[in-house]
Symmetry: C2
Subunit: 334 residues, 2 copies
DNA sequence: AACGTTTTTGAAAACGTTATCTAAATTCAT
DNA sequence: ATGAATTTAGATAACGTTTTCAAAAACGTT
């Protein structure tokens, strides 16, 4: 049996190549500054003994870990992970690795995670915060001095870049469409108001109502879940001609509650969502909804973080992506 | 403006507390070995200046990073992430942090990721491998000497612990049930045969057929996707009385294909799935399926990895979790 | 009071890199 | 050729910890 599989270090390489440690390091980091002869020799040795620089030692020395963190409310929600994937796809080309953490929607867990990330010396984070405007988060971020970009959900208490979608614009457009197609009474099923997205979407709804002079509407508050949509329907004062879900999940929940109550969708009630999540096109009837570019949002957030990390000054504090309405079967055609 | 927010190091603490660096380190790692007096003084200082040990330096010194990696085929699939969450919930109590990587079902990407993980000096990994029995993976793992546990999908070419569910048993039980309830002809819609789960489930189906002496069945091969279920139905030689999906997604796909073809589920054809994913209970009609304890599987995998990391010898190379059949609306009652 | 034991502390050496600084070698202009 | 300017290479000092080793202090025992 071999002695013990001790990782090969830069020293071994130096010795084998008959050069100094410095030279090997230079070959790795500033190859142009070493003569062709030595460079080739060193490279050969590196490949022969399959040397890989120890990232830990490198980090300690340079202070740079080439790791970024993601903080999202729910590690089990495909939407958040699609964002993460977008950001990763951009950032991995720049040589970064990733730690992704879920907070279970808990502010306390969020703080814990942020500290842990800091102890791991991540260079920066992309965060979709766990709702609320708790000052705790602001203080922590400020104190840790962590480069941060907010994604999908705003956090006003701190001056960091934000990338999201045009929530208000999206539902406003959809509400306009519903009015155009002859719907006259509405219900809006709002998600957690502690999140900026819920507030913005609600605002979009209100904007459309006011702009079009319709007053026959009802707003119910709940969460961004299927169950919430299901329950909220049963609290309607009066069944409206159109119900708008805060996202696809609540819209789907609303649809089954409605059909259990004996209302046919879309013949008697139209229902729309927001997200265009995977399943929406397969549900029966397939869901008319506002599509948001989730992956793209992550990708853009990645870009922004990279700009932050590479020291470039931010020209814009926000990037807001457009949404698109996708027409399917849950809206009655007149 | 302050000088520059230089992180406070163990040296600062030592100086402020009027003790040596060693003592501070000991307070952190072997508190019992330092006198009460000094220990308290040091702890006070640590808290006052909010000192947090630099994990990087610590890792360099000890060779231990307190980080484990997860490698899964698709970072966007809630099922995989629920497993990950299970493992994290166990392992975070032991002080670990996590890197989770998706391979996009690509063996090549998988290799790349494994190397990257190694360069990050993760202490171990939990992997749901990207299908196939490519020797590449075995070689890599062997060469890297990474502590590994396989989750959900077996990989026979290497002698590492495996935690999964009783795939064969689950579908066998379900098939038995379908036979009991009077179904006489079957179709099995198999997922990627490069995965052990697909093979085991198929085997369970065949076991039941043989045991019960039924020969009137058809096996179709595809993927673990909604679309695959949808397409496979159109290739039936003859519509069977019961179709079993390799997972819920393909079952759901089969249901819509079937209803588009004019067959009513469950009155004319029964359909069952495997997984009991989130949406299955809400689909219309709600899906009868085999539930597997996804979160628990991850949790157990976490346990096993921890045993590996803390040097304990594995008493068992495998942990196989039981499945449970959940009866809903897609099976005709006689 | 003298001596061995044990406990508590500090100095210093690692861990594997990169960066700074100086010495040697080369090039270039006279 | 000579000296100045430039390029190339090596020694060495960090980075922030933990651990080893030895010294100092405390404690018993005679």
């Amino acid at each position: 049996m071999k002695k013990k599989e001790n990782r090969v270090s830069i020293r071994h390489v130096a010795k084998l190549a008959g050069v100094s440690v410095s030279t090997v390091s230079r070959v790795l980091n500033h190859p142009e500054s070493v003569s062709d002869e030595l460079r080739e020799k060193v490279i050969r040795v590196i490949e022969e003994c399959r040397y890989r620089p120890n990232q830990i030692a490198r980090s300690l020395r340079t202070g740079l870990t080439k790791v970024v963190g993601f903080v999202i409310p729910d590690i089990t929600n495909p939407a958040f992970l699609l964002m993460v994937k977008g950001a990763e796809d951009y950032l991995k080309k720049k040589g970064y690795s990733f730690i992704v953490c879920g907070t279970d929607h808990s502010a306390k867990e969020e703080s814990r995670i942020l500290r842990a990330l800091m102890a791991q010396n991540v260079e920066g984070i992309i965060i979709t915060c766990s709702g609320g405007q708790r000052s705790e988060l602001a203080n922590l971020l400020r104190h840790l001095g962590l480069k941060t970009v907010f994604m999908d959900r705003r956090y006003e208490r701190i001056d960091a870049p934000y990338v999201g979608v045009d929530n208000a614009g999206g539902v406003e457009k959809m509400a306009d469409y519903l009015i155009e197609t002859g719907h006259r009474s509405f219900a809006y099923l709002c998600g957690e108001r502690t999140t900026s997205s819920a507030r913005e979407r609600l605002q979009g709804f209100i904007n459309s109502m006011q702009k079009n002079g319709v007053t026959n509407y009802e707003i119910l508050y709940g969460q961004f879940t299927f169950e919430s949509g299901y329950e909220l329907v049963r609290k309607f004062k009066k069944i409206p001609e159109a119900v708008m879900g805060g996202n696809d999940l609540v819209a789907l929940g609303a649809i089954v509650a409605l059909s259990e109550l004996g209302y046919r969708v879309p013949d008697e009630v139209s229902v729309v969502g927001f997200d265009d999540m995977f399943y929406s096109k397969y549900s029966k009837p397939s869901l008319t909804t506002v599509r948001q570019p989730i992956y793209k949002m992550g990708f853009e957030a990645g870009k922004v973080l990279w700009k932050l990390l590479s020291g470039g000054r931010m020209q814009q504090k926000e990037v807001i992506l457009p949404t698109e309405i996708v027409l399917r079967e849950t809206v009655r055609q007149r």
